[in-house]
Symmetry: C2
Subunit: 256 residues, 2 copies
């Protein structure tokens, strides 16, 4: 049974793309069949996987607007061992075009129906916004994985995100649940991170993944080489953290 996860948080720069790429690569290492869907017009997940967003013949934009089937858009990532449904800036125009179409919230859900069974996991990288693209991801997904930088603005923004998830569950996607919160870019030396982390555990309890992703510059270097951390520097603290996160995710799913 394919599990579709939306990697989302409207707060910018909290590690959504980094988590999406590296979790996908770690799940592939655990012999799962994985599709990464890039739903951000920035196309960061596309570039971070080594696919040139400027050279795409087909992208997720074509898929959402019904102009091409998923098989025509999906391509293998050169190194990561995963498939990618790539994105580019055309997605900005798609977002506006979607506004006027019937069933606009369900476009991604419908488009993925034929290909999802080919994969064990489909992870969707969302833009930093609660817009029609993120809503499409929340409608298509069974679970929401929320990367959280342990700082004030990221914590403060969770209420709005959880409210949006609740609304989607009550209206369009009753199966949507919070898969978990992941603490990212964690700097154990600073007191603020520890305080915010405690607040997360107090509020969300078991829904907070035990694995904490530390701040590790190798994670910021890897995308400029177009590869996940596991290919760029598999002994780094960042690589170890994402392998541990994949392990924890798989254990949770088996216990489900």
């Amino acid at each position: 049974m394919t599990r579709i996860l939306a990697i989302t948080n409207q707060k910018g720069g909290v590690g959504k793309t980094t988590t999406c790429i590296n979790l996908c690569a770690a799940l592939a290492l655990a012999r799962r069949r994985v599709l990464l869907v890039d739903l951000d017009p920035q196309g960061n997940a596309t570039m971070g996987c080594g696919i040139d967003k400027h050279g795409l013949e087909r992208s997720v934009c074509d898929l959402l607007l019904g102009e091409a089937p998923p098989q025509a858009c999906i391509q293998p990532a050169p190194v990561a061992g995963i498939d990618v449904l790539p994105a580019n800036a055309d997605l900005t125009a798609a977002e506006v075009a979607l506004m006027h179409q019937p069933g606009r919230e369900r476009r991604l859900q419908q488009a993925l129906q034929t290909v999802a069974p080919d994969y064990d996991y489909v992870l969707v990288d969302c833009p930093p916004s609660l817009n029609m693209l993120t809503i499409n991801a929340l409608v298509a997904a069974a679970g929401v994985l929320i990367p959280v930088q342990c700082e004030y603005y990221a914590l403060e923004g969770l209420t709005a995100l959880l409210e949006t998830v609740r609304q989607i569950r009550e209206t369009i996607n009753p199966g949507l649940e919070i898969d978990g919160l992941v603490r990212t870019m964690f700097d154990a030396r600073n007191r603020l991170a520890g305080q915010v982390s405690e607040q997360l555990l107090a509020h969300f309890g078991d829904r907070v993944y035990r694995t904490i992703v530390p701040r590790n510059v190798r994670l910021a270097e890897a995308p400029s080489h177009g590869m996940p951390i596991l290919a760029y520097d598999k002994g780094s603290r960042g690589a170890i953290a994402y392998l541990a996160l994949a392990g924890e995710l798989l254990r949770r799913d088996e216990a489900r």
Copy 2:
């Protein structure tokens, strides 16, 4: 003559809000009259200035939809010595509503016309997206100040931003120019930051501000106390950097 600046970069988490709040506060310390406009539905600049976004009677959303004049929306920040046009999540609905209105790109420009003359500087904090809200800021502004985190995705995204600025200048706002790029969250210990910084200087030359804002945890702590860094810890490296940035901005404007 009032100078209106849009603080923008569609890459998330690069220090737009932190730069907007602290640059405003530093300009106020230099006895300039300053208005901060929060144009992000996250309302981070509003909260970071000590104004509760959940308790607003009027917000920038009312202004954009023509439901209230600016004087009814603007309130003084408790500590920073600036005025604030606050935002909350209603702004997400305003963005969708704006799509269907004539002259939608000029709403902010028109709304600010009556109040802008009361200020020396108006700084607009933008959301992490090239959407109708950011376009409104680019149409209202004379200059674009671009915070750049010295990492791969932030550098890679500049092309799309500069292209959008060029399009706005050629169609709706011929006076729009790049005020400058500011290197933020700079960690001198890591090689990547140095490499990206060199690429910025090579591409943009004098348009890169000489002042570099270092990574400094006090900047991340200040917003949870609802105050700018100059009130929270005026001796910190973050406070010194934003004072220097304000000084550089004022010198550039006098030479204009």
